[in-house]
Amino acid sequence: MTMDSERLKPPGLWARVFDSDIWYSFTRSKVIMAAAIVTFLIFLGALFAPLIAPHDPFDMASLYLMDSLTPPMWEAGGNPVYPLGTDDQGRDILSAILYGSRISLAVGFASVAFAAILGISLGLLAGYMGGRVDSIIMRIADVQLTFPSILIALLIDGSVRSVFGGIDREQSAFYVLVFSIGLSFWVQYARTVRSSTLVEKDKEYVQAARLIGLHPLRIMASHVLPNVMGPVLVIATINLALAIITEATLSFLGVGIPSTQPSLGTLIRIGNDFLFSGEWWIAAFPGAALAILVLAVNLLGDWLRDALNPRLR
């Protein structure tokens, strides 16, 4: 008996990772490995921005107006103190990018989490309950799916800001963004979870759980949910890039993060005003950072979708 359990002991987490198909397909592609490394580095940079950034772009006291609009250090008039130059307020671009990607990633993760939680709950409810609950939720989803998500995010953003007009913009901008981006992305999760729930709910383990009198919510949360999570993770990865783009777009359009605590989109918006006067670096470096981040996350998401899709193997 003891020997049996010894032998059946599952291998450790790392052993399972290195033995998996995903790890194999990961090591096969140089592009994916590069994308993963880049993503990881940007995550690290964003996470430890306060430690590695040469300046604190939010600390107004440390800004020197004399140093404003300094070009990058390799250009004439550049200053090695500001490797990528400064903006019109004398903020160091490199530090602003590090702090900015922190905000961009935070909005991205939070809105994906919000969309996933909302979509999963509604999808579970629709799939498990069926009937009128199902048709109401899915009709709303259908109508919403007709419109591009950026339009919906803009509408929600405008409405929310007018309802809570009195609240401080700087404090609320983050939550308003997460709310509007999350609310514009939930449909995909709901549809996927609903269709897997429809399959799962007729299986024997669910019937057994129902037979012993468990509460429907309990069945949904602890029995059906773990079995429908697989595809959700893939959607979440792909959506992360989309959420970052949406945040940047909204901030660029001037309805996102305010310029006192700039995200990457806000930085590009600020730099856009200086394109014609020759200060190209204010928009160019945050733009490049955003492009690299989105490209890397997109590549990872696509690869994950293909690697996890059994039909493509």
């Binding site: 591009p148 339009l151 890039a241 660029f252 359009l253 309805v255 394109l275």
Partner: protein, 325 residues
Amino acid sequence: MLAFIIRRLVQSVVVMLVVSLIAFVMFRFIGDPVDQMVGLETTVQERELLRQQLGLNDALPLQFWHFVSKAAQGDLGISYQFKRPVADLIGSRLPATLELSFVSALFALLMGIPMGVYTALNRESVLSKLFLTISLIGISLPTFLIGILLIFVFSVYLQWLPSFGRGKVVDLGWWSTGFLTVSGLKALILPSITLGLFQMTLIMRLVRSEMMEVLRTDFIKFARARGLTNRAINFGHALKNTMIPVITITGLQMGAIIAFAIITETVFQWPGMGLLFLQAVQNVDIPIMAAYLLLIALLFVIINLIVDLLYVMVDPRIRIEGAEA
């Protein structure tokens, strides 16, 4: 067939009703309409009178009915910021957006289809790989970044093309067009590339995968066996059979182009509907937001309906299914 059309029509009406309900709720409950229209010194009695005149004291279903019937007649309320009828404002901005969207769609089709065919036929060539890389970047980069990049290269650095506005427009009474002047046409180039790039990559990838699929089928093999030229096989047989999904996607993407025009119009200060809508969002001008929502919904519904009908006409399999259901 008739049953199918009627069912789709009913569905469209339901969608429009739901959207107008949302627009009505926005219009009625986000911010007090009376507060937005009058100044601070207006007395309570005057406000009450205005409420009565505007019908804000009626039962809600009745108000909704008034809202819908007025909207159907083109009366979409008065803008809070411009103090002008919303319908007039949108009408004056509509030509700019429609011309931009039209040119973008044309660009996407004229570039996307040949590139898709080329990459499907020459899968290993360097140019194909280049096209695919460009398409990956086109799909990954946000629209506004592409716009800024184009402005920087072609307006700031090379100084070939204008970076904002429509150039000189010719007023035809009810329609102002930029197609008739050189500066108008030049002003169209950068914005329509920006707006159409995503759709171009989408069409290119679609044509490529459909072509590759069709080229494997038996009737292509049979055509080869008959000794037809490569040209006749590739374009006469293969490409023709990929056109059905391309038409569908292009139709559906038309709506997306008009909606994404919001971003492009902001980058290029293009005086269209999208810019109007964005200003409305920034200044919380609810009547314009609600009207824009209704208009876009109407466009989407009409486009979807046309695409569905085209599909039924082109593909007999759907016709049979539709007749049975």
